[in-house]
Symmetry: C3
Subunit: 159 residues, 3 copies
């Protein structure tokens, strides 16, 4: 019996283009029968936020972070040429024109392909994000769980 | 017979300093007899653009991307302290002073060392870049080819 | 006899949040008995600078870099929402509130856990940083030493 190959991505970035790259690699790897995990930490957690406003007990500073950070994959900015939101609009236009998948659909596909989506508990605490603000079926875990996945992995990336 | 070790880099960034780091690691790995691939995607494609303006059939939005993105390795900005182009000038000055190789020469060296330079077809489409705008001897491929290289690699990086 | 697993991180970034992520992964890996190396290059070198001003022979351009770059882990900015220094203050506040470790303590812990902290000689030259400006017990090495660590590593990341 041969073991399945493993792809494990730390998704630190919350930029539309980088998150897109992460999910394209992840979905590709899952299609090639890799066991795939995306470990969302820091700004990468924003890709997992629900689109709507969720009521949650928060301190003042947590509320500020909550307001300032984009709520969900569709609201993320670009790492380059963001141009006050015009860049993301341009990218979404060309994605549509080329019949490529926009980010929210890439994330849905990842869930359908059983890619394990993990949210880093430590940075959720720091940024004041609560589980009910994140997409369903996201697992919560810490750096130990990440290392357990990564240490016998084939493709390990930090994005 | 022992197999050659493999270094596979996804070059997502189009910042002079990050591209430089990628090519220094890649050239070093090739010197140690690794089989090396650099998979250029998103802004990393700009490092492969020819210096001159190339005529190509483009839509309006593709022309805009083409105009706004830097044309080739020598035109890239810095990820930090870009200071409207003064940063890159300073870096290039110190590179010269220390007899280190500037980026265009690092890319030439990579080609001489048979490092496989790949351009991601999906993001070429999105950004409207055509093969004739890129350096010669660049291969075109998609995420499947990247994974085939990366999954039995030794050093996998996302830059 | 089983060999220890290896985690090798290229720390290119000098952003407080990214450096923090690097040191959290590194300290976690060391706790799981990995042999861990952090190879600091470009802006990542700033995390290793001493807090005080160190006298050193420098050219004009080296002095400029020295002045403009942050002096040590506590002075670094954020990769996102830096807001002229308010972002780092907010992050440090929540770190304190959650009894998490701020960056200077994470670096101390790394040294106590015998994580190998390496400074890239080539980029020290380029940015004009001298050994006496860096923390004690930092090793100086080049890309060849990095590759020797990385090529038989388990977790290789570029941050």
């Amino acid at each position: 019996m041969t073991e399945r190959k493993k792809t494990t991505i730390v998704l630190f970035s919350g930029d539309y283009d980088k998150v897109m790259a992460a999910y394209i690699i992840a979905n590709g790897a899952a299609a090639y029968d890799h066991e795939v995990t995306i470990f969302h930490t820091f700004w990468g957690l924003n890709a997992l936020r629900k689109d709507e406003e969720i009521k949650a007990e928060k301190s003042f500073i947590e509320k500020m972070f909550g307001k300032m950070m984009p709520r969900g994959a569709n609201k993320l900015g670009l790492s380059k040429m963001n141009m006050a939101g015009m860049g993301p609009k341009m990218i979404k236009d060309v994605i549509k024109k080329h019949n490529a998948l926009p980010l929210p659909q890439l994330i849905e596909m990842a869930q359908e392909q059983d890619i394990k989506l993990v949210a880093c508990t430590m940075t959720m605490d720091l940024l004041g994000l609560k589980q009910e603000e994140l997409l369903d079926d996201v697992e919560l875990a810490g750096v130990a769980a990440y290392l357990a996945d990564a240490e016998d992995g084939n493709v390990n990336l930090f994005i």
